[in-house]
């Protein structure tokens, strides 16, 4: 039985514009492009799942096809849901662990020095490459000691004292890898007189969706919606996230891909630079010291799909002294866990090559981007350091060195 709302592929007029803008189709001939993998073959798969074509696994879910589509077809959603609807669920140790960012994080942060040390060793890399199919070239993000949440809990009282508050969905990366970014969020929001409230949360679901753990992703989605709603509605607060992909999942992937009603929180969700920019526009601009740095800004795919790029750019423009070049919109290639898989590693690097070239042409002191996995990819593939826009803003506010 075909569900009526699932036939957006019928709106496809075969114009092939999506394939033009697909970074994977540009990088490899093995991927026939979103039109063919999505709307074209979806009508066949509905009739007979055996007509499934392996090549759709190349899709990174960057959503650039949906941005390009003049007919409003949810191309990437069609491809993603086909992956878990029709492929036989084969258990792969690697994919299980890549998908469980919070499980891995909560273990690794207890022994982060050991993990960070061992993961760089040749025999470990060799083992991961050979048996886990995680390419030895891939650099891993470092784990932090302890969690952001435990740090935050020591500061909860002072945050609750603010008259205006925002609920902050910190995500796994801040919790397990980069506490400093979470602290920078506090610095910036406190500077515009907003207290930061952290509530219970689970992984947003992006890596689970990418690796086919849809039931688990649904459970996490329900948990997050409930928890965020409870905590935000109690104090009439908005919900912010500083990870573009977490934010995208909460807003778009929950209803469109996981088919979970997120209307209880939808109107309150803001990617952080939109929240900040709105306050800036209302005259709530903190005192800022110059940050005399030459920077290049890279816009992540999921932030583009959400339409949030202009907010980040406008906020960055307010930082005195910052010499900002906006890079032409290109995908960096990593696409979350995609670039951690040996079978896609080469494609991921080829997708990103155009972006890396453009960064090198600008030759900035730092690159700025909103997405943590874009950061890993750019730092691994180019000699440049990558910072989050909120971090740059926090340095303008606290005057410390960037």
């Amino acid at each position: 039985m075909i569900k009526l709302e699932n036939i957006s592929f019928d709106h496809c007029i075969k114009c092939t514009v999506c394939t033009i803008y697909c970074p994977v189709a540009r990088a490899t001939h093995h991927f026939p492009g979103p039109k063919q993998s999505g709307p074209d073959t979806e009508r066949l798969r509905i009739k007979n799942p055996e007509l499934l074509d392996d090549s759709l696994k190349y899709c990174t879910n960057c959503k650039r096809c949906e941005i390009a589509c003049p007919s409003n077809v949810k191309i990437a959603d069609i491809i993603q849901s086909s992956k878990w609807r029709y492929f036989k669920n084969v258990f792969r140790v690697r994919d299980f662990f890549l998908a469980r960012t919070d499980l891995m994080g909560s273990v690794a942060t207890r022994v982060s020095y050991l993990v960070n040390f061992f993961i760089k060793l040749f025999p470990v890399k060799f083992f991961l490459d050979r048996f886990m199919k995680i390419p030895s070239e891939r650099r891993f993000p470092k784990y932090a000691q302890g969690t952001f949440l435990s740090w935050y809990n020591k500061h909860r009282k002072e945050q609750e004292a603010f008259a205006e508050k925002a609920v902050y969905f910190h995500g796994c990366y801040v919790n397990y890898n980069n506490h400093d970014l979470g602290k920078d969020v506090l610095t910036v929001l406190n500077a515009i007189n907003v207290g930061v409230i952290v509530t219970d949360e689970k992984c947003c679901g992006v890596p689970l969706i990418a690796n086919g753990y849809i039931d688990k992703a649904r459970k996490n989605a329900l948990f997050n919606i409930h928890s965020l709603e409870k905590s935000a509605s109690a104090i009439g607060a908005r919900i912010v996230s500083a990870s573009s992909s977490c934010s995208f999942a909460l807003k778009h992937e929950y209803p469109n891909l996981l088919e979970i009603d997120n209307s209880a929180i939808l109107d309150d969700l803001d990617y952080i630079t939109r929240f900040i920019h709105e306050r800036f526009e209302n005259g709530n601009v903190p005192a800022m010291k110059p940050v005399p740095v030459r920077a290049a800004y890279h816009s992540p795919c999921h932030l583009e799909r959400m339409g949030g790029v202009m907010n980040t750019i406008e906020v960055l423009k307010k930082i005195p002294g910052l010499d900002l070049t906006i890079l032409h919109s290109e995908c960096c290639g990593i696409a979350g866990t995609y670039g951690f898989k040996k079978e896609y590693y080469k494609v991921a690097q080829k997708v990103g090559a155009e972006l890396f070239k453009r960064i090198e042409r600008v030759n900035p002191e730092i690159v700025i981007t909103d997405c943590e996995t874009c950061k890993w990819q750019i730092e691994m593939s180019t000699p440049y350091r990558v910072e989050h826009p909120v971090t740059v803003l926090a340095r303008a506010i606290d005057g410390k060195k960037l």
Binding site: E66, H277, R305, M310
Partner: protein, 428 residues
């Protein structure tokens, strides 16, 4: 978020308008739902190709001087002939800055060959489609070879040759057709029949296969002086690849526009966006304007799908949302409406009068002439008759012209886009 000007629609007219405004220092944002109709266009800019009874217009500016007087509602009449000329050459100059050289036959139209092998009068073409050398070789009645990749389904050289031979201009010219083969990537999973223009353009962009392709082209073309190929000779660096291919083959190579996706149109789209960004314009892709707040005869702000409750404010707005295909106009069973602001639309209440009974009627289909009514300043009216003084309507959204019958779509988009920018700049 606030800009000097927000432009709704990122096609030919919208970006042309944005470039002119941004060049004069206005902060501009363009919001575009999906990629524009340029991706489905010939990539040539038509000014005016056919008058009534299908008669070819050879000198479009001279023609327009008379035409405007007797057609006061036509979008060209809203611009005036001197501003149409200014707009077109401004457009050519802007594209030139992005390394796309447009050919024009002075003030006269020239003809480009279509996928079906018919000739279409147009005003500007990319130099790989038409140039002086092509014209000279054609006048000398040199032999032409129409070539294609074996298996490429969006161009049939045999069909094009049959149609060209019917044309009186080609009577004494020898035309042959021929095939070349795709380079071998060793990927048995892809069937070459699946390749579209974009896949092939990427083959040329790699530059790796150019020598092999040149050898094949030379062999297939025999003693012809021209090779006519479908327009897929690359997207980035296409100028260099075109030159290289001509050097390697010793032939004049020209491109014939293909079925979508149009590589020729994409090159123009890329160049316009790049120029707009270089002038500081903000291009918001993949978002749709849903509604706006109108008060006291002015549009104050608009709301988008992604933006939700956050408003986009501006001093002036431009509506360049296109015709039916792009969603600028929506047809319901018995009415045509403008979906964002509910503006007053010129159409017919009786559905059976929307279209002619034949598929290719000489006078064109009436629905193509429907659109948003404006006054001479391109300002529209709301449904209850209120004029919106800071909203300008441009491009395919406008009524009282038939881009297909007249061959005027590109020219109307460019000149009304430029006209709106001039009106906005003069108002400030």
């Amino acid at each position: 978020m606030r800009y000097d000007c927000v432009i709704i629609g990122g096609g030919l007219s919208g970006i042309t308008c944005g470039i002119r405004l941004a060049e004069k220092g206005a902060s501009c944002a363009v919001i575009s739902t999906g990629m524009s109709a340029l991706h489905f266009s010939s990539g040539s800019i038509d000014l005016f190709g056919h008058e009534g009874e299908g008669k070819t217009v050879f000198r479009p500016f001279e023609f327009l001087d008379d035409f405007i007087g007797s057609n006061p509602l036509h979008p060209y009449a809203r611009c005036g002939s001197s501003q149409i000329r200014e707009a077109l050459f401004y457009f050519r100059d802007q594209l030139g800055r992005e390394d796309i050289d447009l050919y024009n036959n002075d003030d006269a139209n020239h003809f480009h060959v279509t996928t079906l092998g018919t000739l279409k009068p147009t005003f500007f073409s990319q130099r790989s489609v038409f140039n002086e050398k092509i014209r000279q070789a054609f006048e000398k009645k040199s032999k032409i070879a129409a070539l294609n990749f074996e298996g490429y389904r969006d161009f049939y050289p045999e069909l094009a040759v049959i149609n060209l031979k019917r044309n009186i201009l080609f009577r004494n010219i020898e035309i042959i057709s021929g095939k070349i083969l795709y380079p071998d990537y060793g990927d048995p999973r892809r069937n070459p029949f699946e390749y579209r223009s974009i896949d092939i353009a990427r083959i040329f962009d790699t530059e790796r296969y150019l020598e092999d392709l040149a050898a094949q082209i030379r062999a297939a073309a025999g003693d012809a002086a021209f090779a006519a190929m479908p327009a897929f000779l690359g997207i980035t660096n296409f100028k260099r690849h075109h030159q290289l291919l001509q050097q390697l083959t010793g032939l004049l190579i020209y491109e014939i526009p293909t079925l979508p996706p149009s590589i020729l149109g994409m090159r123009i789209d890329n160049a316009l966006k790049s120029r707009f960004a270089a002038l500081g314009g903000v291009y918001i892709a993949g978002d749709t304007v849903k509604s706006g707040t109108i008060s006291g005869g002015r549009l104050e702000s608009v709301y988008t799908e992604n933006g939700g409750a956050s408003a986009l404010g501006a001093g002036n707005f431009v509506l360049a949302s296109g015709s039916f295909f792009s969603g600028g106009l929506v047809s319901e069973f018995s009415r045509v409406r403008e979906p964002v602001f509910g503006l007053r639309v010129h159409s017919d209440a009786e559905r059976s009068r929307w279209y002619a009974p034949e598929f290719f009627p000489r006078d064109g289909h009436p629905f193509l002439e429907y659109g948003v009514e404006t006054d001479e300043r391109l300002n529209p009216l709301t449904d209850d008759g209120q004029r919106i003084a800071n909203l300008y309507c441009i491009g395919a959204l406008l009524p009282h012209y038939n881009p297909i019958r007249e061959g005027s779509g590109g020219g109307v988009a460019v000149s009304t886009g430029y006209r709106a920018a001039e009106l906005i700049l003069a108002g400030n």
